[in-house]
């Protein structure tokens, strides 16, 4: 067909050499501006391939003479962000945790930092909303095993609970009364009845009356005469509505028979003091944080005392 190419006499343009029923097609050249743009894109592409990562190789692409990477961009932005936050981070680092409430701005920054860190380090056990689950305490409520002030929480975070190898860890162990034969299964049931009695879940049955003596002899040394708990040994309060392992008969039977002792890692070994401080501030802000250790743990009936909004944490 190519031999049919000819110069069209009217336009002076070459034809492409095709012919259908007498209709021919002109081989009109591309417009100049189009060609210039086209060649410009080629030149640009060559320059781009030299300057930037372009050719995929086995493990990574060619580097490009500018050395640009998206990771590099991210690093730069992160560094910039760190520089921006440095003053407040420095202030946070030198401020003792108990002084944070006096500085609302620092406290707010610490809480926000803690909120992020919590999602990374704590949410796996305590849940994203810090509501916990069986065996993992709810951090929103007003019941604390080891103390709910900022310093208490920080101490628990640094050294953990029953963390092997940490001398300052929160340490205690409830005896397995049933499994170790300290109490017979019947006695365990009596103790369960008494615990449910003092937590207002059951009436005063004969079993509970028998359990009262067992409780005084075996449990009160840690859990207190009235079951008000003891924070120095992390003995939970038993006369309230909050149960770490459940407050029903079956769960209580299991707890008294086999005993529980949850473990929390000593985060002081893994996280920097600043992060731990921020985590403590965040956990404290969830609603149950205490401004000071309560004098009388047993009484939370709530009598009107100070004007609302007047007291600081």
């Amino acid at each position: 067909m190519a031999e049919n190419k000819r110069i069209d006499e009217k336009t002076g343009t070459q034809t492409v050499g095709h012919e259908w029923d007498g209709i021919e097609e002109l081989d009109t050249p591309m417009p100049r501006w189009w060609l210039v743009t086209f060649y410009a894109t080629i030149v640009f592409a060559i320059g781009y391939c030299i300057a930037y990562p372009a050719w995929p190789l086995v493990s990574r692409a060619t580097a490009g003479v500018l050395g640009w990477t998206s990771h590099g961009d991210l690093d730069r932005e992160m560094k910039g962000e760190q520089v921006r936050r440095r003053p407040i981070m420095r202030a946070l680092a030198v401020t003792p945790i108990e002084s944070l409430p006096a500085n609302p701005q620092l406290l707010a920054a610490a809480e926000e930092g803690g909120r992020s860190a919590f999602k990374v380090h704590c949410a796996a056990c305590h849940g994203a909303g810090a509501a916990g689950s069986k065996g993992y305490p709810n951090l929103n409520d007003d019941d604390w095993l080891w103390g709910g002030t900022l310093t208490d929480i920080q101490q628990t975070l640094i050294h953990g609970i029953r963390q092997p190898g940490d001398d300052d860890t929160r340490q205690s162990q409830m005896p397995a009364f049933g499994r170790d034969g300290v109490l017979t299964p019947e006695q365990v049931q009596d103790a369960v009845s008494y615990v449910r009695y003092i937590s207002h879940q059951e009436g005063g049955s004969q079993s509970a009356m028998r359990g009262r003596e067992l409780f005084a002899a075996n449990c009160a040394v840690c859990h207190g005469e009235k079951g008000e708990g003891n924070r120095t040994v992390g003995a939970p309060r038993l006369n309230d509505s909050i149960w770490l392992y459940g407050g029903d008969r079956d769960s209580l039977t299991d707890t008294i028979t086999n005993a529980h002792g949850g473990i929390m890692p000593a985060w002081g070994k893994q996280l920097d003091p600043l992060t731990i401080k921020m985590l403590a501030a965040y956990v404290h802000s969830l609603g149950g944080g205490e401004s000071s250790a309560p004098v009388n743990v047993g009484d939370t009936s709530g009598k009107p005392a100070a004007a609302p909004g007047a007291t600081g944490k």
Binding site: N138, D141, S241, S285, G287, T300, A305, A310, K313
Partner: protein, 507 residues
């Protein structure tokens, strides 16, 4: 037009621009244009420098678009981002106002008030000032590149760029404190975006006002197209009274002999007929002496005698030019004048024109006016009665509820309180609708009541975590409201709804 099969000389897609050299003119419309030019430029340049005292907590600039802090100040009105519908309403009002003006007096916006017109006008004055009037400009255009031409052209473009810089320079003052920004700008300490804005606006002003001019109106602006739909036979437009002007005579007016133009002489046909019968032409002469003054002064370079057209911005300068000519040859003025299509037809037929009031008070105008005023009134009332206090309550969803030691259930809420006043306010947040006690992050549950008080910083949104505790027995989900009330003399309150949630089965 070439024959479709003629491939040798295909028609060009674009016509090259014919450069326009508008001649200076004097007259009432020119004076009116001077006045609008002065007024609009004055408003544009002076507005950012007007001060308005708003107290110690807000800027004292009368008109300020504070993008950084997301506030828009306009004299006594302060708009927050959530109230952007006021700005939208203002834009709708501007659009309907344009409809109203257009259907009443035609393209008055295009002719007098449009920034493109104002700046082009300014640029043309500068051009005449440096290069001389129309004829001098044409001569200079045609002349070789002499030192004189180089000097004048350089001066002209320099002046244009200077105007462009001043234009862009004024723009940035609407977005920051004008005196402070001016100081920083001169000392090279202003933000980069300020310099970039000035640079971009300098370029666009120079390009649009200096180089593109009428092409913007004819090819870029959508408004002339929209206006075609806005105008009707009762809208004012610049009209050449062809029934008076035709047939034109070139040179000296030979119509001293009072030969009235016969009725029913159409512009299109008459010229042809007259050309065929030159003997008659001597006697039948119109007022137009074809002096071309109307074309020479036109800023868009059109010939109004060809009838209404999209290039006509109805600036009225051809009226001034024609009136001048008519006065000189002793003929009545307003051969070119503002008239409506209806009036033109009536005048052509020898009937009386419609009284202006009747023309203006037509249903279309009244409808536009009604919509425009209703919108304006609604915005004024709503601006005047809007509350300067707001509350937004967001219930914490994880966890929904928390059981406390004594068995009660606690919910947590993120509460935002908006203080739109430029002063700190003491407010009280209270709950209603469901039983329970309320306290916030700074308070204690012990002693909590149904409300808490807090101080909200001026012109800020205060964020607070609040807790509500209530008995475990009750509906799994109870409606409740949070109300914020200002505890100062001005008062005012706002309410938001939320829920109190409990475990499904109370243990």
């Amino acid at each position: 037009m070439s024959h479709p099969n003629d491939l040798v000389s295909p028609p060009r897609l674009f016509e090259a621009r014919r450069k326009i050299f508008p001649k200076a003119v004097t007259g009432p419309f020119r004076r009116f244009k001077w006045a609008t030019l002065a007024l609009t430029l004055l408003v544009y340049y002076v507005t950012p420098w007007v001060r308005w005292d708003r107290g110690p907590y807000a800027p004292d600039q009368a008109v300020l678009v504070d993008l950084a802090h997301r506030r828009f100040y306009m004299f006594s009105i302060e708009i927050w981002p959530h109230e952007f519908y006021y700005v939208a309403g203002l834009l709708v009002m501007a659009a309907i106002g344009l409809f109203l003006v257009t259907s009443a007096v035609g393209r008055a916006w295009c002719g007098y008030a449009c920034p493109q017109t104002v700046w082009t006008d300014l640029f043309q004055h500068v051009e005449r000032w440096i290069e001389g009037d129309r004829n001098a400009q044409i001569r200079l255009e045609k002349s070789r590149w002499t030192l004189n031409k180089v000097a004048r052209r350089t001066a002209k473009h320099a002046a244009w760029i200077a105007i462009g810089m001043v234009t862009g320079g004024a723009w940035i003052f609407y977005f920051a404190d004008a005196p402070a920004l001016a100081r920083a700008f001169v000392h090279g300490e202003a933000p980069l975006v300020a310099y970039a804005t000035v640079a971009v606006l300098t370029w666009t002003t120079y390009l649009l006002g200096g180089l593109m001019r009428e092409q913007v109106c004819q090819f870029m602006c959508p408004w002339p197209r929209i206006q075609a739909a806005m105008m009707d036979e009762r809208s004012l437009t610049v009209t050449y009274r062809f029934w008076r002007g035709e047939p034109r005579t070139r040179g000296l007016k030979r119509a001293k002999v009072d030969h009235p133009v016969p009725e029913r002489l159409d512009a299109a046909t008459s010229l042809l007929q007259l050309a065929e019968r030159p003997a008659v032409a001597d006697r039948l002469v119109g007022d137009c002496i074809d002096c071309n003054a109307c074309v020479a002064v036109c800023p868009t370079g059109i010939d109004i005698r060809e009838g209404p057209q999209i290039g006509c911005i109805t600036c009225g300068l051809c009226i001034d030019a024609c009136d001048d000519t008519m006065r000189r040859i002793g003929r009545p003025t307003k051969l070119i004048g503002y008239t409506t299509e209806l009036d033109a037809r009536a005048e052509h037929a020898g009937a009386a024109a419609m009284p202006p009031l009747k023309r203006l008070l037509r249903p279309r105008m009244l409808a536009y006016l009604a919509i425009w005023s209703a919108l304006g009134l609604f915005m004024l009332v709503s601006l005047g009665t809007r509350t300067h206090l707001g509350i937004s309550v967001n219930q914490t969803r994880n966890p929904l509820w928390v059981r406390l030691s004594d068995g009660t259930i606690r919910n947590t809420y993120q509460v935002k309180i908006r203080n739109m006043e430029a002063r700190p306010r003491l407010v009280e947040v209270s709950i209603a609708g469901a039983p329970g006690i309320l306290w916030d992050e700074h308070g204690e549950r012990t002693g909590a009541g149904r409300s808490v008080r807090l101080r909200v910083e001026p012109d800020k949104v205060a964020k607070a975590q609040m807790f509500v505790a209530a008995d475990a027995a009750g509906a799994p989900r109870a409606d409740m409201t949070f109300t914020v009330r200002a505890l100062d003399a001005e008062g005012g309150e706002a309410t938001d709804t939320s829920f109190f949630e409990r475990p499904e089965v109370a243990q």
